[in-house]
């Protein structure tokens, strides 16, 4: 390649480098999204997975594909982001009304909300005969990540940096409304900004690569256990850990059934699920 092998160079710049960048951006974004949601809702089990955000984004993606199939990808991205924002907003409204904000009840409510969105997606896809396509959309997969198809993820990088800029405010907001108001911080606005950033970046990831499950739940739980809850310090660590975990999962997805690929979401589902079970058993009785 260094001797000017054009094919190898082309492979590198068309597929390998874009794929690696995409993985790093998506992995860090999902970890940061989960961390921010956990902080703002004061619940370690709330992440884009369990707040209905990913399912709402997928519904937006399906509607875009069905009703404006010829629209450019950025327009479909806008639709997806709007759905993610609306779904997350609905989650927050329901959270406000919830009398009993138990550590388990809150994510359970989010999962139920997500199930409703998911049912709508499946129904629409079924009617259009796109059920199989839906599965490929939903499961996060980097095999189709090529130059020209991943650049939207740079938006996610910008959103992640913006989240870092707000980190101190998000930590304070996560200490509760009264604590935040005492320090002169507008609590509702801060929560809305944070959840908006998180919903937007997860939606862009859904558009480009599909749903990346559990990463946003597992990575923040592990890094805050070791490095504490101050976002300003722990957010970069979460971002790097998320990127590394997704890189490893991607390597796994390409080697387990070599020369075929299995979706990276499947690998994460297995690894993340087991890690999460381990965390649950470890932290039982002192979560929150």
């Amino acid at each position: 390649m260094l001797r000017g092998d054009d094919l190898a160079l082309d492979l590198l710049t068309t597929s390998r480098i874009p794929r690696t960048i995409a993985i790093i951006l998506a992995g860090s974004a999902m970890a940061v999204a989960g961390l921010t949601m956990q902080t703002l809702t004061r619940n370690r089990f709330v992440a884009p997975d369990t707040a209905g955000t990913l399912d709402a984004a997928t519904l937006g993606l399906v509607l875009g594909a069905l009703y404006v199939p010829s629209a450019p990808i950025y327009l479909r991205m806008v639709i997806t982001v709007l759905f993610a924002l609306a779904g997350t907003g609905l989650f927050l409204v329901l959270l406000q009304r919830l009398q009993f904000r138990d550590i388990v009840v809150v994510p359970l409510m989010g999962l139920m909300l997500g199930a409703v969105f998911n049912a709508a997606s499946v129904f629409l896809a079924y009617r259009a005969g796109l059920l199989q396509t839906l599965v490929t959309w939903i499961s996060g997969d980097f095999s189709g990540t090529l130059r020209g198809r991943y650049e939207l993820l740079y938006i996610v990088a910008a959103l992640t940096i913006l989240t870092y800029w707000f980190a101190e405010r998000f930590t304070i907001a996560g200490m509760g409304r009264e604590f935040a108001v005492n320090l002169g911080l507008d609590h509702s606005r801060t929560v809305l900004i944070g959840m908006g950033l998180v919903a937007s970046s997860s939606a862009v990831v859904v558009v480009v690569v599909g749903e990346i499950p559990l990463l946003g739940l597992v990575v923040p739980n592990i890094v805050t256990l070791a490095f504490g809850d101050r976002l300003r310090r722990v957010l970069p660590i979460a971002a790097i850990s998320g990127a590394i975990l997704l890189l490893l999962a991607d390597i796994g997805s390409r080697t387990v059934r070599h020369p075929y690929e299995i979706p990276v979401g499947v690998i994460l589902g297995v690894v993340g699920g087991c890690a999460f079970l381990g965390l649950l058993l470890r932290t039982r009785g002192r979560v929150g």
Binding site: G174, M175, D229
Partner: protein
């Protein structure tokens, strides 16, 4: 100066607070006492702008707490409620640094660091500074949150039942610390207390409430008398004296 003017809080038809007038000014400790549901915490949380009144106003140094910019108020009044003392995974120093947020917006100056150190010293927390709140005892955690309030360095400090969940030793230490806020730092401290004897011993002024109204207001010797105690707590008590302060023998029925 805290200036309460015709303050009313209602939930439906129930009036939980009706306070036509109250002024608290100057360095000192003012205790709000009364039975459960007397409205003392409601009064305190409205003054700390954590709760909206139904009508009326609270002025702090002339600023209406319902309308003045929250950030400006954060430099004049600090409020700590017992429910907000959380076991989060922050170090004691990180928590106390948040006390400087109204001034620094997260970017601490040398002066901020100096005030954080001073607050840690005041609360005798220096050796705990790098420890995480979720690894401390309840009493230590409580002190860390009070240290954050001290670092906030406001002229007015409002504390809602700061002795809840503290054992005898830590309760005594906390009250001594609250005294120091007034005596050494010249703060106007308003504290909701459950125990009338703690109030009688440590406060300069006692405001006694019942059913949302102020029924007595004065020095401990003026307020803690048998007739007022019957009025406030609905209990006939004997009162004795210790070091020139009244002591209510409420456990002798």
């Amino acid at each position: 100066m805290i200036d309460v003017r015709s303050l009313v809080k209602r939930y439906g038809d129930t009036t939980v607070l009706d306070c036509p007038e109250l002024t608290i000014d100057g360095a000192g400790v003012t205790a709000l006492v009364g039975a459960n549901g007397a409205g003392k915490s409601t009064l305190l949380t409205i003054a700390g702008r954590l709760l909206e009144p139904t009508s009326g106003t609270v002025l702090i140094d002339g600023h209406d707490v319902s309308t003045a910019p929250s950030r400006q108020l954060a430099a004049r009044v600090a409020i700590l409620r017992q429910e907000n003392v959380l076991a989060v995974r922050l170090t004691v120093r990180e928590l106390v640094e948040f006390g400087r947020f109204p001034y620094s917006q997260g970017r601490l100056t040398d002066e901020d660091h100096h005030l954080v150190d001073r607050a840690l010293m005041t609360l005798d927390l220096h050796e705990f500074a790098p420890r995480r709140l979720d690894e401390l005892s309840g009493g230590q955690r409580q002190r860390a949150f009070i240290a954050a309030v001290v670092a906030q360095d406001t002229d007015h400090v409002l504390l809602d039942e700061p002795l809840n969940n503290l054992d005898l030793r830590h309760a005594a230490q906390s009250m001594a610390m609250i005294r120091r806020l007034a005596d050494d730092f010249g703060k106007t401290v308003v504290v909701v207390l459950h125990d009338i004897n703690v109030a009688a011993h440590h406060a300069d002024r006692i405001v006694a409430m019942r059913d949302g109204r102020i029924v007595a207001d004065g020095t401990p010797n003026e307020v803690v008398v048998a007739s007022t105690m019957r009025d406030v707590f609905g209990l006939d008590v004997e009162i004795t004296e210790h070091r020139g302060r009244p002591v209510v023998l409420h456990f002798v029925a």
